[in-house]
Amino acid sequence: MTSPQQGISLTIVAHEDVHLAIAKMRDGWGDSYQKMAAVARLSRADLEKLGLKENAKVELTGPAGSVVVTVRSDASLEAGIGVMPSSLYTNRLASYEPGSSTLFSKHIESRAVPTEKGITPVANLIVRRNRA
């Protein structure tokens, strides 16, 4: 028996979300975007394994980075599958394998661990460049 703090492995399926697209179009990268994007839907079984209830927080770590998001229960999902809207949050998790014809941002192998940390602010996910 593993403890919830050890976390679980998840395949995060990223998908287009029309409400998120509209929020981005209307308000840019503001609160409404963060509220909709920083959400992962997990199966009830996985929520139980993590010892989490609806709207608790989880830290997801993918091949390229970590984010803290809210969890929601989704009865239609099988254990081991998580669902998130494609966003700056999934872009933080996703990697790229040289030579590949696709981005590894659709099915992202991740680890989920319960956390008390705050939701990752969307501002922290924006890549800023040092202009010459």
């Binding site: 697209a21 599958i81 990697s95 014809s101 696709t102 924006i126």
Partner: protein, 418 residues
């Protein structure tokens, strides 16, 4: 002309929505000068796009390294950066008109640069097989009322193309069952999760992430063990007369650039029934870009003009960024800073980035030089190729006061030194 309260006339116009790949041509808008009034027929996504296009706060501004400047100064600086660079990359263009794409290819050729679009990491392999006629396709008007099986594979149009079902496919059918509830066509879907579409589908096939290949080999008769799902899907397809497959990014990502098994499956099924494959491209003119580039180079994407015409994976956006191959990138009407993994974007430090766009985006915020342009379909016209290969003409709705993308590119074409 119609009148608003107070008797001041408003201009009522019909336009093509460029909010997604559907390019709905029946959008009615009321325009008062530069202000947008009522919008009719548009979906929520299209309406949000049009409202943003009319919102001055969402517009890109002329800047050089974050400082405001005139558009002319921004174009001069863009020309200077492109001229001094030795390894230039031109990317984006999937939401640009054919006219813009043509000038961009000319500019790439003059500079001996690399050109690529998002098709190189999405629909490119599928589009190439459709262009080469290895995969059968048809227009959306041919699908409507004629196809008796609509199969959405790894696609959820309710999220990506909100009017696809109502304007072009399922709900657009004229004949309904005797009770009057359902159109006389079978709607089916293949997806890894439950969506609004799978709830409507009869049947919906739920597969595991990456499970597309198993289904394809089962349908193609290439697998020694055929799953129940593959058998059920095979029976569904074979009892139809005309099956239209709408391929989404879910399928494309599972195939990872290798469409050979999918092509064999479609070709096999085509021996007994009519099949048509239509990619669910989200961009407004990805098909136009790939067709234009192929006409000039024989390749749909990933082309270098450094030494004649070369094609290869090393010229894809992803490889170019990953290997820091370019020292100057011109991005036209695209926002890679909001779509690419941040791991890749972090490799762009020290690279000169020039952005042409009508919207303020994460890419325009990150760019060294920003040249604002007109919004295609609102402030400028032009031609597009819809996701089913049909030509669509955009009209100029209002005068925006910005230069068109192709005008900016023509100026760059004159000013740059290879």
């Amino acid at each position: 002309m119609i009148e608003r309260d107070g008797g001041v006339p408003l201009s009522s116009r019909t336009l093509v929505c460029t909010g997604c790949g559907c390019l709905c041509d029946d959008i009615q808008v009321e325009v008062d000068g530069a202000h947008l009034g009522r919008i009719e027929n548009a979906c929520a996504k299209g309406a949000a796009y049009l409202q943003a296009a009319f919102n001055p706060e969402r517009r890109a501004q002329s800047t050089i390294r974050g400082q405001g400047c005139s558009p002319e100064a921004a174009i001069d600086e863009a020309a200077r950066l492109l001229s001094r660079a030795s390894r230039r990359l031109i990317l984006g263009l999937d939401n640009s008109t054919l006219e813009t794409q043509s000038v961009a290819i000319d500019l790439t050729r003059k500079l001996g640069a690399v050109i690529d679009d998002a098709s190189s990491f999405s629909y490119g392999p599928l589009i190439e097989r459709i262009i080469k006629k290895e995969l059968p396709t048809c227009s959306l008007s041919e699908v409507k009322n004629k196809a008796d099986l609509l199969l959405y594979w790894g696609a959820n149009p309710t999220a990506t193309h909100p009017r696809h079902l109502s304007k072009y496919t399922y709900y657009a059918y004229a004949d309904f069952n005797p009770a009057g509830w359902y159109p006389k066509v079978t709607l089916s879907s293949i997806d890894v999760r439950q969506t609004e579409l799978t709830a409507m589908s009869q049947p919906a096939f739920k597969i595991k992430p990456g499970g597309d290949r198993e289904l394809i080999s089962g349908l193609a008769g290439e697998s020694p063990t055929v799953t129940d799902q593959a058998r059920q899907l095979s029976e569904l397809v074979k009892k139809s007369r005309f099956c239209a497959i709408f391929c989404g990014l879910g399928l494309v990502h599972s195939l990872d650039g290798d469409c050979s098994a999918f092509t064999r499956m479609v070709q096999l099924l085509s021996q007994s029934i009519r099949m048509a494959v239509i990619p669910m491209i989200a961009e407004t003119n990805m098909l136009g870009f790939t067709q234009s580039l192929r006409k000039q180079t024989s390749y749909v994407n990933q082309v270098s003009f450094a030494d004649g015409v070369s094609y290869g994976r090393e010229f894809s956006i992803l490889e170019q960024v990953h290997h820091q191959a370019a020292d100057c990138i011109l991005i036209v009407g695209s926002d890679p800073f909001s779509t690419l993994p941040q791991l890749l974007l972090s490799k762009l430090h020290g690279v000169d980035i020039i952005c042409l766009d009508h919207f303020s985006t994460l890419t325009s915020e990150a760019a060294d030089v920003v040249v604002p342009t007109t919004a295609p379909g609102v402030e400028s016209g032009g031609d597009l190729v819809r996701l089913d290969g049909e030509s669509v003409a955009l009209a100029e709705l209002i005068k925006g006061g910005f230069a068109r993308q192709e005008e900016v590119l023509r100026q760059l074409l004159q000013k740059v030194r290879p």
